[in-house]
Amino acid sequence: MSGPVIEVRDLRKTYGSGDTAVHALRGLNLTVGRGEYLAIMGASGSGKSTLLNILGCLDVPTSGSYLLDGIDTAEFDESRLSLLRNRKIGFVFQSFNLIPRTTALANVELPLVYAGVKRAERRERAHAALELVGLLDRAHHAPNELSGGQQQRVAIARALVTSPAMVLADEPTGNLDTASSREVLGILDRLNAIGRTVVLITHEDEVAEHASRTVRVVDGQVAEVLV
């Protein structure tokens, strides 16, 4: 497989219908190569999150095609989609989305459990992922006992624990201070360095500078490609 990981053609997403319909994506085209580090920028409400959710197979487009590794995702059934989300994609949410009242370790282990990985190996890999984000000492803390930056790092550890081919991050540094942002970006940089495809959404130019390529979304379309 040498083609692009992501190939999006004429992607449209409409929320609601009739007079109140919101056209979040209006015929968007995008190609992301293997091992690329892409930053998506754009004004608030321009459709960035909508796009990333579709790329992460968390949502489906109204029309248009999304080819993942050359295969149209519209052909996948529900069980195939959960398999994709589990094995191929690591998703980092702006609002962390950790399971409450559950330790950091258990949260990181979660995708491995659904992947059917044995207990001992699961422990080991979850520990390694937490170590990578520098939170091994917080393994047994619940999310409400962690700072925002620490929660985001746990979420990143969860996204990368399955060694997915691509990591999608929606404003991963949006809620973090400069120091925490730097740590989180450092982790993403290292992931990209070992060959993972990284796509992140950001409002900050300094963050976008980490990427090898930046696209700007305006009104649900890719307006210009900045290099």
Binding site: D59, S79, S82, R85, N97, R101, P111, R158
Partner: protein, 401 residues
């Protein structure tokens, strides 16, 4: 993904939010316990009524004079002691065990200034006590010899005894009945009330004494006949009819000058009461099941709605729908079974106490019904919303408020 892992998730889900799980368990517990307890109380009340009816005896015939039959106004014969003796004849009436002549009257009894009007001052023979299931609680019953000698002795019913002797032991004391002194020789054990009538509100003396002192030697009020067993009651009734018709010269087709009623006929008349109780019981069961069911539904819906975001997170990291469903089904099962078991325990323990004067009697089928219905409701409303949520796209579940 093995079953064990789903089990671990379910246990974690239950233990992660202890307050939520406790409330859910409590909801089911209250539902199950209230159904069991309410039905037990209803059943206890119905059992009490039935027992007091059965306490009257099912092998009894009561013969009383028929008053006001037009054609027999002149020829009507009163019931006599001789009639009673004839009814007890072994060869003529082999199925009759005993026949007690009864002459009863309302009388005023007094002791040391306290007076009490006894609605039934009964004069009879000793067999009467066995026939009416009356046991002595204190002292003695009178004997055949007392009847022969017409001794002025009396056995008091519990109500009469407590009214006249609130603090002292009545046995050995003399009470004045219509100003005639009677020695109290015993007190009957309480039988409770059957319907409106208090069966402890009476006093019993030898027939001869009562006739001597109070009623005179006219006709009897009643003859109480006891058959040898409940099964031989129809035979005893036939024999008694033949004997009395012979003695009172009543030919075929003529109206008798006496009335014969079996306790069974009285029982049939009172089945209406029992039917009312059954209907009451059924409505109590239905209402408590409904109330319990709504409570369980409520808590389960709240619990699952609260966790739709969690379902979204699990889907986002690649959980298949079936696994999520399994976890929530298992959680609902654990809480329902646990809450149900505690509810059964609470209901059964609660039924050991007397509630509002009624001793509850647990109906085994109500335990099963309450447990099954609650568990099913818990299971359904614990897993159905979860299955709806698991069918959503991850992003929809995550956005759920």
């Amino acid at each position: 993904m093995r079953l064990l892992e789903i089990g671990v998730f379910a246990v974690r889900g239950v233990t992660a939010n202890k307050l939520r799980s406790t409330l859910t368990t409590l909801g089911i517990l209250i539902g199950v316990a209230s159904v069991i307890l309410l039905i037990a109380v209803g059943n206890g009340a119905s059992t009490a009524v039935q027992q007091s009816i059965a306490g009257l005896g099912t092998n009894i015939l009561t013969i009383s004079p028929q008053r006001g039959t037009p054609q027999s106004a002149s020829s009507a014969k009163p019931l006599t002691v001789a009639d009673a003796t004839a009814l007890a004849d072994r060869t003529e009436a082999p199925d009759v065990k005993s026949a007690s002549p009864v002459s009863s009257v309302a009388a005023t009894a007094s002791f040391q200034g306290t007076s009490y009007s006894v609605p039934q001052f009964v004069g009879t023979d000793p067999a009467y006590f066995e026939t009416t299931n009356s046991a002595v609680a204190n002292g003695n019953l009178f004997t055949a010899d007392d009847v022969l000698q017409a001794r002025k002795v009396v056995v008091l019913g519990a109500t009469v005894a407590t009214s006249l002797f609130p603090s002292t032991d009545p046995v050995g004391n003399a009470v004045l009945v219509n100003n005639i002194p009677f020695t109290v020789i015993g007190v009957l054990a309480t039988k409770g009330s059957s319907g409106l009538q208090d069966s402890d509100d009476l006093a019993v003396s030898p027939l001869t004494t009562v006739q001597n002192a109070l009623t005179g030697y006219g006709g009897l009020t009643q003859i109480v006949v006891q058959a040898t067993s409940a099964d031989s009651l129809p035979a005893a009734q036939a024999q008694a009819t033949t004997i009395l018709n012979g003695r009172h010269r009543i030919g075929a087709g003529q109206t008798a000058d006496y009335r014969m009623l079996s306790q069974e006929q009285l029982l049939t008349a009172r089945t209406a009461t029992t039917d009312t109780f059954t209907v009451l019981l059924a409505s109590v069961a239905a209402i408590s099941l409904l109330v319990g069911g709504i409570g369980i539904t409520n808590i389960m819906l709240v619990t699952v709605t609260e966790r739709i975001r969690e379902i979204g997170i699990r889907k986002a990291v690649g959980a298949p729908k079936s696994t999520i469903l399994g976890q929530f089904l298992l959680e609902a099962t654990m809480l329902s079974l646990f809450g149900g078991a505690l509810g059964v325990a609470a209901g059964v323990i609660g039924s050991q106490f007397t509630i509002a004067g009624i001793k509850p009697v647990v109906v085994p089928s109500s335990v099963l019904l309450a447990f099954a219905v609650s568990a099913l409701i818990g299971l359904f409303f614990g897993s159905y919303p979860a299955s709806r949520a698991a069918s959503l796209r991850p992003i929809e579940a995550l956005r759920h408020e």
